[in-house]
Symmetry: C2
Subunit: 433 residues, 2 copies
C-alpha cells in the first residue's frame, strides 16, 4: 500500500466513514502513522480524531500546531472537542484555547472546569429548551425558525421561568400532536436529571436502568445546562467495563496502542506488589521446612491447595466486583450474598477435597496424607469464598476501587492460608515426623 | 416493612419507576419475593418485569398462569416481550403464545425464529418507513395522520419500492426543513444496516463505532424488517462486558441472583478442569523430588516463580482478550502485538529477576540460588507474555470464545514452566547435590 502511491491511498480512503479511517490508523504500525497522516492530509478531520484511540490520537496531535488543533476542535461538538483537548499537556492546551474563537473557547473552558469523567465533560451544551406555557404549534414554529438550533436532537426539554427542567417531550410526540395542545399536557413529567458533577459511570448506569436516549444535565441550582445522549454513553459503558476487566487482572488501563515504557511501568508496579505477597506466602512455607524435608510429597502437593483456592477466590471476587459495579450489591443484601458464597464454597470445597483426597490416598498410599489434603482444600475454599466477598465489599466501603486492588488481597489470603492449612495440618498430624 | 402493612408498602412503591420496583425485588431475599409480589399485585406490569434480573423474573413468572403472562407480554414492545418469553420452558412458551392475540403472537413467533442473541431478537418491528419520492410535507402529514405509528421513534427510514432502506432522516431534520423539499434531498444516504442474523455483540460494536441512536435491520434480501435503538444496545454492552469479566475468572454467567445449585455446578466444573492442570503442575514438581529433598529452600521459593508468571500471564491475557472483543486485535496486527508483549515480558522479567535474585542471594547466602531463581523468573515471564497473546488469538481463530478458556491454558503454561524452569535449572546447576 505504501509504495509512494499517495493518490491510490487517498482514493481508497476517501469514501470511508470517519470511524473506519480512525481504525486504519490503529491497525498500521507506529512508524507508518506519520506518513499515512501526511498522505491523507485534508481527509483527517475532527470526526476522525474523535473516533481515534487516545494513544494514537495523542501521537498525531503532537505533530500538529496549536492553530491546526484549534481549527479541528472548532468544527466539533463541545463534548468531542473536550475529549481531544483534555488529554493534552497544560501548555499545549492553553495554546489551543487561545487559538479558538471566543464562543468555542468559553464552551470548552467551561467543560474543562468540571472534574474529569464527570457529566459536565460528557454533555453537549446545545440542548433545546422551551417554556412550559407554549403550545405544540409554538414549539414547532420555534424549532423551524430558530437559527441557532443544533441539527441532531431527539427530545425537547421543557423548562420553567428559572430554566429548571419540568419535563421532556420526544420529537415524535410533538410531530404527532395537534398544534393547539399545550406542550405541558404532552410532555413526560417523570424525568431523569443528571447533576453536572455526577461520575460518568453513574451516568451510564442511569441510562441503562431507565433505557434513556437523552437526558437533561442540571447545575447545582437545578437549571438546565446541557444534555447527554445515548451514543456517548455507549462509549462510556464499553470503556468502564474494559477498565474493570483490565484492573482486575492488574493490567491497569492498558491498551495495545499505549507506548511501551508506560505499559512496562504500570504492569511492573503491580507485579512488584504481587512479588511482596508471593514472598509472604513463601515465608509461610519456610516455617514448615522441617516437615517438608521429612516428606517431600508435601512440596509436590502444596501448590494444588494454594492454586485451587486462588481459582475459587477469583470466581467469587469477579462476581462480587461486577455486582458492586452494577449497584446490585449494596449494604442491604451483602449479608445474603456473603451467606450464598459461603455455602457455595462449602459445597465446592467438599467435592474437590473428596476427589483430591481419594486420589492422593491411592497414589501416595497414605490415607493420612489424603485426609490432610482434603481438609486443607475445604478450609482454603472457605477462605476463598469469605475473602472473595469481604475484600471487594470492604474496599468499596473504604472508597477504594475494588476492581483495582481486590485481586492482591484475595490471592494473598488463599496462598497464605493454602500453604498454612496444608503444611500446618500435616505437621499436627505428625506426617513430618 | 413486611409487618402486614400492605397499603403502606403499596403507597411507598406506587410512585416508583418500573426499573426501581424491579430493583426492589432483587434486593429483598428470595423468600420475601412472593409475598412482595402478592402485595404489589397490579403494580407489577410488563415494564417492571422487563427491567428485572433474569433469575428473579423467572421465579416470579413461574408463579403466574400462561394467560397472565400473555396479558403482560401483550402490553410490551416486541423486543421486551421476547426477552421475557425466550427464557421460559418450551411447553410454557407455547401456552403463552396460544393465549396471545394473533398479531402479537405472529410478531413474537417471528422474533423467536431468529437465533438467540441475534439482531432479530433485539429489534422492534415498528420502524417508520416512507417512500423516497415523498416531500417533507408528505412525511409530516403521514406522521401526524398515521394511526398505527408507534409513539417513540427518533428517525424515519426512507425505502425504495422493494422496501429496501436507501437513507435515514432524523426527526429533527424533518422538523427543520421546509415542507416542499424532497426527503431524498435531506436524508443521510450513508447508513449502517444491521443484518437480521448479526450477533448482538457485533451490533453493539457497530453502535459504538458509528455513534448510532437507532439503525435499520434488514433481511437477507435487504428489505427493512425493523429497527434497533441505542437504549437496548446499552443493555447488551453492559451484558457482554460483564460476561467477559466473569468468564475470564471462570465464574461463567454467574450472577448473585442465580439459584445456588446451578452456580455450584458451573463453578465446580471449572474448578475440576483447573484441578487437572494443577495436578499436571504438581507432577512436574514430582520429577524433582530428589533435588528438593536435598535443598528444601527450593520448595519454599518455587511458588514465587510460578505465581509471578501467572500474574504476568493474566495481565497480558486480559489485554489481548479485551482487544479481541473490541476488534482491535486482528490478523493484520497480531504479530506487532505479539512482539510488543514479548518486549514487555523481557523488561519485566529482567527487573523482577534481578530484584528477587539479589534478595535470595542475601537471605539464603547462596549466589547460585540467586542466579537460578533470577533466570527462572526471566524465562517464566517470557512464557507468560508468549502464551498470554498466543492462547487467546489461537482460540479466537478456532472459534472458541477466548474469554472462557484462555485462563486455563495460560495458567497451566506458567505453572508448569515456572516449576520446570526453576527446579530444572537448580538440578542442572547442581544445587540439589
Amino acid at each position: 500500500l505504501h509504495g509512494g502511491d499517495i493518490d491510490g491511498v487517498r482514493s481508497l480512503v476517501e469514501p470511508m466513514h470517519a470511524a473506519d479511517i480512525a481504525d486504519l490508523f490503529e491497525l498500521v504500525g507506529r512508524d507508518d502513522r506519520p506518513p499515512l497522516a501526511a498522505a491523507l492530509a485534508g481527509l483527517i478531520d475532527g470526526d476522525v480524531l474523535a473516533e481515534m484511540n487516545d494513544w494514537v490520537r495523542d501521537e498525531l496531535i503532537d505533530e500538529l500546531s496549536a492553530t491546526q488543533v484549534a481549527e479541528i476542535a472548532g468544527e466539533l461538538e463541545t463534548d468531542d472537542a473536550v475529549a481531544i483537548i483534555e488529554d493534552m499537556e497544560e501548555a499545549d492546551q492553553r495554546a489551543v484555547l487561545r487559538a479558538l474563537d471566543p464562543d468555542d473557547r468559553a464552551a470548552i473552558e467551561e467543560a474543562l472546569s468540571y472534574p474529569e469523567e464527570s457529566a459536565g465533560r460528557l454533555m453537549r451544551r446545545d440542548a433545546v429548551a422551551v417554556p412550559e406555557h407554549w403550545t405544540i404549534g409554538q414549539v414547532i414554529d420555534f424549532l423551524r425558525a430558530g437559527e441557532e438550533i443544533t441539527t441532531d436532537f431527539w427530545e425537547v426539554f421543557v423548562v420553567d421561568p428559572a430554566h429548571r427542567p419540568v419535563g421532556t417531550c420526544l420529537l415524535s410526540w410533538i410531530l404527532r400532536t395537534p398544534r393547539r395542545i399545550a406542550i405541558a399536557d404532552v410532555m413526560k413529567r417523570e424525568q431523569t436529571l443528571i447533576p453536572v458533577d455526577m461520575d460518568q459511570e453513574e451516568v451510564a448506569l442511569r441510562f441503562q436502568k431507565y433505557a434513556l436516549i437523552s437526558a437533561a444535565v442540571v447545575d447545582q441550582a437545578g437549571r438546565l445546562v446541557g444534555m447527554i445522549t445515548a451514543d456517548d454513553v455507549v462509549h462510556i459503558i464499553q470503556e468502564e467495563a474494559s477498565e474493570d476487566i483490565l484492573r482486575l487482572s492488574g493490567a491497569g488501563e492498558d491498551d495495545i496502542n499505549e507506548p511501551l515504557p508506560q505499559t512496562v511501568r504500570r504492569r511492573l508496579t503491580w507485579l512488584i506488589v504481587n512479588l511482596g505477597t508471593a514472598v509472604i506466602a513463601a515465608a509461610v512455607v519456610g516455617l514448615f521446612q522441617g516437615t517438608i524435608s521429612h516428606l517431600v510429597a508435601l512440596a509436590v502437593l502444596m501448590p494444588i491447595v494454594s492454586g485451587m483456592g486462588g481459582n475459587a477466590g477469583t470466581q467469587t471476587m469477579a462476581v462480587a466486583v461486577r455486582a458492586l459495579a452494577l449497584n446490585q450489591l449494596t449494604s442491604s443484601n451483602s449479608i445474603r450474598v456473603f451467606v450464598r458464597e459461603f455455602r457455595i464454597a462449602l459445597v465446592n470445597g467438599a467435592c474437590l477435597g473428596l476427589l483430591l483426597g481419594i486420589a492422593v490416598s491411592l497414589i501416595f498410599r497414605s490415607t493420612d496424607l489424603g485426609i490432610v489434603i482434603a481438609l486443607a482444600m475445604v478450609i482454603n475454599n472457605l477462605v476463598a469464598g469469605i475473602f472473595g466477598v469481604l475484600v471487594p465489599v470492604t474496599l468499596e466501603k473504604l472508597r477504594v476501587d475494588p476492581a483495582v486492588s481486590s485481586a492482591v488481597f484475595v490471592t494473598m489470603a488463599t496462598d497464605v492460608m493454602g500453604f498454612f492449612s496444608f503444611l500446618g495440618l500435616a505437621t499436627l498430624w505428625g506426617l513430618g515426623g
